[in-house]
Symmetry: D3
């Protein structure tokens, strides 16, 4: 089993500081997964987003220098995500490759030196950490990508706007891409997921789970066959 | 005037070999632009695609190793684009920064050491050279992005399918993004342009020209105010 | 005039977020200094500490993984300082070298490519950003090192403990090193300044100012000959 | 058994495109060698030349910019060889170290991380890929260097000029170096092999096989003790 | 057992040349340690100083260019130490990671690729190779740091000055730091050890042995429980 | 005028230590050349050999580990040459690019950032510093390569063996290559110059001077049109 885990940065850094209790639980999860003799995890790659730390630094830069290019702001987001990744590496200790890769090439080389856990932040402007996790899942031949964030489930419509929006248990990769495209066409609307990431997962048929990040145990439940959120594609069966 | 020029790789490498005559014309164009006292070019950044060399190498790899991840194939495309970029650097001689940057960070550092011309290929899997040219345009604060390829103009519908498709002289960034989204929703359809690239140009209001690459002089004509193809956004006036 | 400015990270990041108003003032200071025709600044190198962001991330890591080596925690501090440095680079825009150097060798190479402002964070475990600023001052042949932080002045004794501690206007490099050594001998005591840094400034006779960071204008006042805090060594006269 | 395999780039890229059938056979050869329980291959390092792709790009650059330094053209050859190497890495998949090393230092470090197959292109101007393969053979302590190209055998004189030239089955390293020197003294003559490479193989007594690259099986035959081409030095016995 | 060994550069390079006999003995020591089934060495990291080669090159540079910054001279010392480290790597052959790391990050990554022996020189200006060895010991979780040099033992006072100075068998980390601080306060006095290094070993409670480097066997004796020099802290028992 | 200067390492390091007096003279030469208003030096690139320091370290490694590959020993030679280069950079201070380039690509990039003096050691195994200086001369478009060493002149035969050997004032590139080839054919004979280097200078028609390194002023005399040693090719006239 090869697993890519995308952890939203706001899970880690909230209200101006790191949430050590929750981070500790995620570290425990990784340790438990590596030892689980049923799931047999061969590789875990973790991508951590910049979250609210990134948003704070980006808005500060923009406020002071309104003419700054958005692509330059992306460097700040990348650096924030890398800081979050360094923290998680420190917490995992010997289990993790000792520094976040700087590029996909680095990540693949790190994976070749047989370490079980690689922790990355972002790489390049113009690429969200969601896209990074999808590309990494493809490069490493992952069986599953789990996205833990404050999005606990995907809805068939924007739940903010439509009170009758229904949470989905499952959606095909094709329909997921369509849903993103529909939302993207109406500006200011509910931003579901990075389109590039969704297209990559579609072409490689890698299942993507959305689950709430407040309790890391959901990852365990997913790997054991439960579905505590929304799954894009199918896990454990071939999608045709 | 800061100009980013995206040159489709198939302009350079055609029918299994480099087209030295056309490449020489592009080198001449760059030299002339740098000397032009009316246009006053302060910076030219050039992004060259992988083109048919990339397509050939990617299809070879896929044919032999069908299980290879698409993201890994991107490395081959990036390397092909870099080879095309190295050739153009060789041809420009002292005018160009001596090697293609490996990342946006590299590109920005190269730009800071006061060289007039930077020539890049691709950087990372999951990012087309069109996206690279758009992000670079944003990072360098470019006034214009010119896309020379075999797409001479943008049509209001897929010209392959609709005989009454009309070429557009101008389209707003907003409508351009919508057009891409419409096309993307129907699989197998006419792939206009990279959506990430279009969104970046929209947010930074950088005009994008589509022109045929067979005669490099069109770039000159654009900078002098003509419109020999399709312009996305507006050049020479503020878009509001 | 070559100036190295050490800015305590807590000046920038306070109470869980970046203080955009104060950061904007520091950016303005740098711009004004570069234009000042009396002071004639030839080079500004800025080192930014990790501050409270670093302290928060380090204590989080330690809390979760108590067996982590302190040297590894230093990586987190370095990365936090680098994030602060990236923010200040973004805010300075074209004035600054576009990324924080990764080593002293990088910093010297960056300085050779004729940029006026270099902004660095930390480099290596076992080296405080105070030491980094002192070594950089030596490498670049700086005329002065200004340390802006929440330490507005140096006292002759620990002011927390001795109510009669007197703030100093001036102290020689030799006496400053002695003062640090005295404090260091009593564990738990008032940590004045990094001893390695103080020794380096002593051997190169580079004056060091301590001033409160709440109003960036103090830097201006120092360069104009005033002394709004404590000076170690002498500025504007030779020390013998 | 440690094997270095030099594959002429023209074996891979012919008539303007990659020959996927032949490349697939070479990939199969590598896989079979690694599994062969008689030959017991401990390490395979593969150096791929730039071949006709390199020749095409170099002649294009020279045609457009006749004043370009030959050393700069070497960069184009190196980049072409690296592209060929990347393709072969993609084709080998998990068997290969994921990117071509950039220097001998890189190659040795890659070898230390226990991967069975390393695939390289060229490294530096002024060094042919034949020299690279010889130096790599020395660095890795190879038992044999096999050179597959369109040179199926070595002749005692230039076969183009002398109809009575005889193909050699075996030649000592000393006589091989002399033969190269003789040829090199008459300009425009038959360029046998890189002199630097030949000297290195001589000093380290590493046997070098020349065989035709059209059927990869010849490599198997060599490792099993046959001699389907010309051997420089001796394989399987000590040379004294 | 994880061991860090600091070897003074003057052990290796003496009277203008390398002492091959002694270096060979150190290589033999490393080989023997790795095979010893009682001591069970899991990791050896070796830091080699610049020694008299460094002192010679630094004094040459200073003599010719008296205005050179001391920090720049440190680069020369680092480079000398790295040359000494490269020699020891060459001598160890396949046992050692093939090149000296350039930073602590590099060193940790090298350690993660499962090599038994890492050999380093210095990293950054302002940091002695003694400090490097202490930080590395902390980063790698070493059980012991052995310092072989021409300092065979630590004395309770400066033995040059006080004829009644007594060599110490053991001293606590706290007292060792105090001793260094006392010496540092009297300029021109006996420079015991790098204060930063001593503080790091104190905080991590890693025992430090001082022994004469003339006979490498002392390292063996230390690991077997003898004390042929001075030990700072305690080895083989917990210090409380 | 673009000048490449190759300085034999034994000029700098003799009898186990650096010759500060002679090194100071070379630094003075560089400073004077840069200011000379008649010669108008636009660029000086200096390549320094490993010399006797390299020979000492290589023979030490070989003595201890006789099975070490010759290519690995080259790393030691490269590192020694780099140390010599770092010393000369320290001595030149602000005039020089602050660190020796690690590859030709690095060297070209350094040259692009407008520094007047670049100082290099070696780059890669299998390439002598003589070859490096010739390739660099070609890459930078040098007008002349001056080789200062203990070879004051080239002889028509081996002067050790033939008492009637005559020193040459001038020799064509073609005859120089032939002379090297003749010598190379008789093993143990007088090793004139690196063949790869000679071939490169021949193809680019860059004149090469051999002069004794004991008095740096000879370089001045050469640039003023004198010939105090042997010139290969012609300087100041076109060779046809």
């Amino acid at each position: 089993m090869k697993l890519v885990l995308k952890i939203g940065g706001s899970i880690f850094f909230k209200d101006g500081k790191y949430d050590s209790e929750l981070i500790a639980k995620y570290a425990r999860l990784v340790k438990d997964l590596l030892k689980d003799e049923v799931i047999k995890v061969e590789r875990i790659a973790i991508v951590i987003g910049g979250g609210s730390l990134a948003r704070n630094i980006v808005s500060t830069a923009k406020e002071i220098n309104p003419h700054i290019s958005t692509a330059f702001l992306d460097f700040l987001g990348i650096q924030s995500a890398r800081l979050n990744a360094e923290l998680f590496i420190a917490v995992l200790g010997d289990l993790a490759y000792p520094s976040p890769p700087r590029s996909f090439e680095d990540a693949v080389i790190a994976a070749k030196s047989h370490h079980k856990v690689i922790v990355a932040g972002g790489f390049q402007p113009g690429q969200s950490t969601n896209a990074v996790s999808a590309i990494l899942a493809e490069l490493l031949g992952a069986d599953i990508l789990v996205n833990v964030s404050d999005v606990a489930q995907i809805y068939d419509k924007d739940p903010q706007e439509y009170p009758d929006a229904k949470p989905l248990e499952q959606i095909s990769h094709e329909d997921f891409v369509k849903l993103i495209l529909q939302n993207q066409q109406e500006p200011g609307k509910y931003q579901l997921y990075d389109l590039v990431g969704a297209e990559i997962l579609k072409r490689s048929k890698i299942p993507l789970f959305f689950v709430s990040g407040t309790n890391p145990n959901v990852v365990y439940r997913i790997l054991k066959g439960e579905n505590p959120g929304t799954v894009v594609g199918r896990f454990g069966e071939s999608e045709s």
